[in-house]
Every structure is written in C-alpha cells, then in structure tokens.
Symmetry: C2
Subunit: 239 residues, 2 copies
Amino acid sequence: MDPLVEGQVQLGEEESAHCARVLRLGVGGEVLLTDGRGTLASGFLTATEGKRVGVEVTRCGMLPRRQGQRTLLAVAPTKNADRMEWLVEKATEIGCGAIVPLLCERSERGRINGERLKRVSMAALKQSQGAYLPHIYPMMAFQEFVMGVDAIESSIADVESGAVLRAVAHCGEGPRNDLRDVLRAAGNRPLTILVGPEGDFSAGEIALALENGFLPVSLGEARLRTETAALVSVALAGT
Amino acid sequence: MDPLVEGQVQLGEEESAHCARVLRLGVGGEVLLTDGRGTLASGFLTATEGKRVGVEVTRCGMLPRRQGQRTLLAVAPTKNADRMEWLVEKATEIGCGAIVPLLCERSERGRINGERLKRVSMAALKQSQGAYLPHIYPMMAFQEFVMGVDAIESSIADVESGAVLRAVAHCGEGPRNDLRDVLRAAGNRPLTILVGPEGDFSAGEIALALENGFLPVSLGEARLRTETAALVSVALAGT
C-alpha cells in the first residue's frame, strides 16, 4: 500500500481483493485503513476496477499507543498450532506490542509458521479496527531472548527499556507474587511477560530470568494451559 | 459415578473408557477424580476389565471455591459455535461459577448445543485438574435473566446475593467505568457480568440492567469480539 496520507492512495493487491470480494464494496463504499504502526485513516473507494483499488482518504491521524499495546509477550509455542493461532488472534484484539515465540528446554514445538501467524494477526487487527499490529518475531532461544530483551523492548515504540516491568510466569518452587498485584503496584509501566511450555520453564531458565531482572509471578491457583496463561497475562496488562 | 469417598468406587462408563483408551492406564495407574462440585480425590485403578473401571480412592477432600469460581457469566452466544465452545473451555480453565447463554434483541444465535458445551467444559475441567464445573444454563431471555439473577447467584454455592458485584459491559452511550477499576474498588466481591452480542445490547436492555443494579462498565478502548470480552471479564475477576 502507498503511505497513509490524506488524498488518493492505492491499496495493495491483497487488500484490494478483500474490499471487492469479501467486503463487496463498490465505488463510494466507506473504508477504514491502518498501516499497523498507529495510523488510522478513513475514506471511500474511488475505483474498484483492475487489481488495485483506489481510495480517497478523507481523514488520517496517528493514535497514541495504549498501555496494553506496549505488552511484550514471549511464549513457548503450543504443540497444537491452532492454539497458537488463537492466542495471536486474541492478543491482537486485546492489544499487544510484540510476540516472541520462545524455544525452551521443554518446548514441544521448535518451529512456527510465522507467515500464517502474521496473517491471523492482520485479520484480527482489521476486525477489531486496531491501529497497532503486534510484531511477531521469529522463534528465539530462551537465553537469547532474555539476554537481548532490552533491544526488543526499545523496538516497541515509546517503550523505554528500564521502565518496563519484566515478569516470568511459572508454576515451580520459590516465592511468586500474583501478576494482578504486581501490575497494580507497578502503576503505568508496560509489561514484558515470559510464559513457558506445558511442562513449564526449567529451574535453570527461571534462574536465568531472575538474574536478568524478571520478577517471578503466578497467574493464580488455576492450572492454565500455555495459551490461556499467555492470554490472561495480556488481558491483565490492559487493552 | 459413585459418590466420591475414600475406599472403592466405580467410574461411569464414559470415564472408564477415558481411563482405558485415552489415558491408557492399567491396574495401579494413578488418577485424580472430581465430582465438579468441589470434591477432589486421588487414587489408583484396581480393575480395568468390564465396562466400569474400579478405583481405590486413597485421598478425598473438599476444595474451597476460589474467587474466580464464583463468577457468573451471562453472554450472548456467538454466531460461530466454535467461538462459544472456545469461550466455555477457557472460562472453565480460568475458573467460572456458571455460564448463562443470553437471548438478546440483537442476538445472532437463538439456540445452543448445551450438551456439547457441557462436554467441552468437562474436558477442560479434567485437563486443568479443577474441582468446580461451571453450570451451563439453558438459553435464557435477557429480561428473564436480569429479573431472576438473585436466584442464579445464590445457586452458586457460598455466593450471597446482594454481596455480588453486578456489571453490564457495553460500548454504547453513557458513563462507564473500566471493569479493572470497578473490581479493584469492590475488593473481594464475586462478579456477575453481562456481555452482549456483536451488535451490542440495545439501549432498552442496558436501561433494564441499570435499573436492576448492574453497573455500566467498559473493558478498555479495544473493540473486542463477544467471546474475547467475556474471557477478559472472567480473567479480570480472578482464577
């Protein structure tokens, strides 16, 4: 797509097809557009012939990034790919800054279909009329993520590294506070949260996270699946 | 199944088949059992022949109902049945006292498969090793639910009607507080939450809810699908 500005723009082929075939819009049909980086625009179709649909953008503005849209979710992908796709859909709807698939010692899945997850996320963003598309990273080893988390946090616009509340959710030994209480005490700080595979993080992984400033947290007494724990974290961090 | 007490019990046919074919347990295999009403028991298989498996229950106790397990979720079923099943699965995992499918003015679905939803919920309860199965009510008209909510609240064990925080989530006109803030101010009170269909509650439905002591709430600025709004509410209310 062209850059989002007021005036005439042309949609890309995929979005053009979406307007014509799915939304069944004709000339004059109203559309909302976003670049996934905060810009939300509205306008109407001016041409629907050919492969690329034309839009007259009448209003265009930048939305501020909300609290929940600063959340960095690092999660071990579920064995069942559907559950991961569902998580990406829901996290996008609720609001999330970035999603990092983690390769852990006890991971049940070492590969993800990043393109597919991105498509799921884009569909959810359109459906929910959001303006910030979570960046979905390639699979990253646990250690690599924890050591490089500063850079990833800074890549989420207006998140200052150091100002971020970092937490590792686990069910193992050792003291843990409820994420609800931790978030309440942290006030307006964005959240980076680690969620492990079905078999949980290893003791070594938890120790590494704690050494790197992650607080050990619990999501309550219920025994949650990976994707449920991830979603509850995103929901608690805000929309 | 027999009542859950220490000593010998026989599982029902369905659970017996689950032990034998899915869990592939033989004599001596360890099992956790629940009656879905708070009793959690552990034991081992003593006989696997015939249609009904025998279990020697060695420990048996009643778990207290946690905060989230007192939540009463009244929600308009989604057009897509999968999304409703997904919601029931996740609400059961996180914890929920009862689920009432609501028939609203703008409902897109007037019937549900209650038996199917119950099976989904039981599977989720087993998977998450929970002890309280949310009661899934038959479809109920909005007005009928709002006028009779006292009785349903009291049917969730140890929920005192009057002590319950009642809220209606909507996206319409009028003042609304964020459910996060409302729950925080309410302290330890259980939640009854109304979540509408994709087209939202009608103005008349909202007015009726407010007249009956429901507080108008928002779930944040994101535009959430019905099942997402319901799940965020359940997550915020606690596990």
